[in-house]
């Protein structure tokens, strides 16, 4: 069995309309993959920056996978939430990216989007907050059933991912 270590951080986020952001994340892999150790999902703290226009999370990721093949290569999906002054959280963005397949350290920027509702819902959202969110978050990393969604651009999340592979070369897999 080949092994993959994913070591890194969810560093920060930029380009979102306001501060007080946090992020829920998860790593999803195909059926041939097995998690040996490590957390595959979690939630960051809420950051309210003093002066920078960047939300700092520095959230560690360390997962050890064993796999029989390269199909279903792991991907990380992110949900960025805004924590407002009344203690409510609203969705500010969905995004995903594949874990890079080559070993070494990679800086990855994940672009995000969020669904928009009807005109009446947008009006409501403008004054009351909240807004549309996905009923099935699987949509974030699946290519099916996306076509009926109306979405808008949100900011991007910055990741630093180091990949360590084991025994891929032994099986003739070139990464």
């Amino acid at each position: 069995m080949a092994e993959v270590h994913i070591i890194g951080q969810i560093l920060s986020a930029t380009g979102f309309p306001s501060h007080n952001l946090f992020c829920k994340w998860g790593i999803h892999a195909g059926a041939g993959w097995r998690v040996i150790e490590g957390l595959t999902d979690g939630q960051t703290h809420v950051d309210n920056p003093s002066w920078q226009d960047i939300a700092v999370w520095s959230h560690p990721i360390d997962v050890h996978f064993a796999t029989k093949g390269v199909q279903g290569w792991p991907k990380i999906h992110l949900q960025v939430y805004h924590y407002d002054k009344f203690g409510r959280s609203e969705v500010y963005g969905y995004g995903f990216c594949y874990i890079p397949t080559s070993p070494g350290t990679h800086k990855v920027d994940v672009v995000t989007w969020r669904p928009i509702g009807t005109l009446a819902e947008q009006f409501r959202q403008h004054f009351l907050g909240g807004g549309a969110q996905l009923k099935t978050p699987d949509l974030v990393h699946n290519s099916t059933d996306r076509y009926r969604l109306q979405t808008e651009t949100m900011g991007s999340v910055h990741l630093e991912i180091s990949v360590i592979l084991r025994n891929f070369a032994k099986f003739g897999v070139e990464t």
């Binding site: 270590h5 070591i7 890194g8 951080q9 560093l11 920060s12 946090f22 040996i36 150790e37 490590g38 957390l39 979690g42 939630q43 960051t44 703290h45 809420v46 950051d47 309210n48 920056p49 003093s50 002066w51 920078q52 960047i54 939300a55 700092v56 520095s58 959230h59 560690p60 990721i61 360390d62 050890h64 924590y83 080559s102 070993p103 070494g104 350290t105 180091s162 360590i164 592979l165 084991r166 025994n167 891929f168 070369a169 032994k170 990464t175």
Partner: protein, 207 residues
């Protein structure tokens, strides 16, 4: 110590170079490491406290610590890769030690020279009452053990305010990672394939 025992070594030299903390004058930093159960420190210091640095008297306003880091780990498993945790403290007007920032980063996984800018943040009170008492007593919230920052769990309850950053440089040397079948940097011929090549050569010689 050979690859047959399944051990590999990770050696780090480097320094905590500089920091930026606009609005503060005197700051010192502490560092410690957090690593998985399979990891053991074989040489070097696991913790340290720097001098109190005053920021430069120009528009850069940077703090220079030039503080050495030198540590060697051994492990059988890259899981739990060591993380460097930096906490910065300064004195307030009453002479109390106040935390100015926590930051965390993984040690680089591939050999070579690396520079990292670690963003810093401080935890914040969650309720108005706590904010009031913190302001009155001058005791700002801080982490009892900053090692929680290196864990993925339990972070969702904390609220932080980010301020400033610290620049760190690393020189990484690894031993026996490749002979154990690990690839930790791009486009690397692993020892497995070199071994295969040498066995071919042996065959050639015999023929």
């Amino acid at each position: 110590m050979s690859a047959s025992s399944g051990l590999f070594l990770l050696s780090t030299t480097g320094q905590i170079e500089t920091a930026e903390f606009p609005g503060f004058d005197n700051i010192y930093c502490k560092y410690c490491y957090m690593y998985g159960l399979d990891w053991v420190v074989t040489a070097g210091l696991e913790e340290g406290i720097s001098q109190v640095g005053r920021c430069s008297n120009d528009e850069r306003r940077i703090f220079v610590w030039n503080f050495p880091l030198e540590i060697t780990f051994k492990s059988t498993n890259p899981f739990g890769w060591p993380q460097l945790i930096i906490s910065c403290y300064g004195l307030d007007t009453f002479g109390n030690d106040v935390v100015r920032g926590y930051g965390v980063c993984h040690l680089p996984v591939s050999a070579g020279q690396h520079f990292k800018t670690i963003p810093m943040f401080v935890p914040e009170s969650t309720s108005l009452l706590q904010k009031m008492t913190a302001w009155l007593t001058g005791r700002r919230p801080e982490y009892v053990d900053p090692r929680v920052l290196a864990q993925g769990e339990g972070r969702e309850v904390t609220r932080v305010r980010s301020q400033g950053n610290v620049k760190v440089s690393f020189n990484i040397v690894t031993k026996d990672l490749q002979s154990l079948g690990y690839q930790n940097s791009p486009n690397m011929t692993t020892v497995t394939s070199v071994g295969a090549l040498s066995s071919h050569m042996d065959n050639l010689n015999i023929e």
